[in-house]
């Protein structure tokens, strides 16, 4: 019996793109279903009743939610080709740590850059964003990819944010290529792979989309929620930070 793989997603979501990237790298055939986030399908609501969010991967009728969890599921189910995690436990732990860091920090800082209403908030977000990118550049070091010679878990989790760089740049007043040349070089290496390009969307389209939505948001509050839903997943926070 052939595998049935369906992805419920929204085209501009960097979280959804992680899943598309993992599936593409591993050559897994799947059906892509675009969700209208203002009018979620019964299938989405049934498949992710707890969060009601995309992306959701449905494999032979079994739904999996949360992009990091989905990518790890893909890795467990289709370990080759393109293994995303190394074999030794310590390297795996490091990869998971950095994927978690990207997940916690990049989208949050990025979102606050373009969604902030005050200059002050934007500046704070920008400085945190910069700190985050410095750390990532330092972690990448001289390697081709975070995964080493080939793309790995951290590359898959981080790369989709490239499609949102123009958004951060225009609203933040900086250029990623100028401030973080190593990150841009890493992006370019990733994009050399056709399977990677296939899974990404055009950053120009993402920027136009955000500009349009922001304009509409000023007139209509409900759109604000939609915009936020594609750029946020449940936030992991360490509580009891005494």
């Amino acid at each position: 019996m052939a595998d049935e793989v369906t992805l419920l997603d929204f085209w501009a979501s960097p979280f959804g793109m992680r899943v598309r990237l993992a599936l593409s790298l591993k050559g897994v055939n799947y059906t892509y279903r675009e969700e209208d986030l203002r009018n979620k399908s019964p299938l989405l609501l049934k498949s992710n009743p707890v969060h009601k969010k995309i992306p959701v991967l449905i494999h032979n009728a079994n739904p999996i939610s949360e992009s990091l969890i989905i990518v790890q599921y893909i890795e467990d189910t289709w370990p080759t080709p393109s293994p995303l995690l190394p074999t030794d436990p310590y390297s795996r732990a490091k990869a998971r740590f950095w994927a978690d860091f990207v997940d916690k920090k990049v989208y949050d800082c990025g979102r606050r850059i373009w969604a902030s209403k005050s200059e002050g908030d934007r500046d704070v977000a920008k400085s945190e964003f910069f700190e985050c990118f410095h750390l990532l550049e330092s972690e990448l070091g001289e390697r081709r990819f975070f995964g080493g010679e080939e793309m790995g878990f951290v590359d898959v989790v981080f790369l989709p944010f490239w499609t949102w760089f123009r958004v951060y740049e225009e609203f933040g007043g900086f250029r990623v290529g100028v401030e973080f040349p190593k990150v841009m070089e890493w992006v370019e290496r990733c994009l050399e792979v056709e399977k990677v390009r296939e899974a990404m969307v055009d950053p120009e389209k993402v920027y136009e989309f955000v500009v349009q939505m922001r304009r509409k948001c000023l007139a209509d509050d409900t759109l604000h929620d939609v915009l936020l839903t594609i750029t946020t997943e449940p936030t992991r926070k360490d509580i009891y930070s005494f």
């Binding site: 707890v50 494999h59 079994n62 999996i64 939610s65 949360e66 969890i69 989905i70 790890q72 599921y73 467990d76 189910t77 436990p89 310590y90 795996r92 732990a93 998971r96 740590f97 978690d100 860091f101 750390l135 449940p234 936030t235 992991r236 926070k237 360490d238 509580i239 009891y240 930070s241 005494f242």
Partner: protein
Amino acid sequence: MGELKVLGFWASPFAIRPRIALSLKSIDYEYIEENLRAKSDLLLKSNPMHKKVPVLLHGGRPICESPVILQYIDEQWSSGPSILPSHPYDRAIARFWAAYADDKFGLALEGLLKAQSEEAKIEPLGQMKAGLELFEKALKDCGKGEAFYGGERIGFVDIVFGSNLGWVRAVESMGQVKLLDEERTPGLVGWAERFCSHEAVKDVMPETEKLIEFAKKVFSKPA
């Protein structure tokens, strides 16, 4: 492979997780209690990015973030009882509920502890109760009728979710509210008792009275 240390804090639910896991695997380690108001050089050096407990140090190499630590322990000592299930789909479900425990439930618990008025408690309390009902259902789905989310044995979800039970009990006592009760969450009531009395858990789960005392100091109204 090298010595094993856990940097922790007695009241932190995150910090007891590695200790439960190492105990399940029958692995010895040195426990170092951190003073979170005066963090040790070792902690700051081992977790420079977040500066938080727990940190597992194995042969001097640090592993941070409790879910990452749990998976490391499971993979490093793979001959011991498994913490994560073996089937990819079961693993995904376990990771889902662990993430939910930290993202939604944990945040609501924090909200409840920090609430300064009865009114401020309403929302987090509502969220916690809704979360507990989901976990009640998940116990049947994950555990498949067995004693724990991991089945016959304590697993990933048990450790991540269960580590909050000390604080859940403290909140019940302080707020005079029932979070786990026989009527709405009978499965959880039984599970909580089994989990907290488990050999690997009972010595590291903080005592309710001590947590209440601690909470009064940390979460009290400013003078």
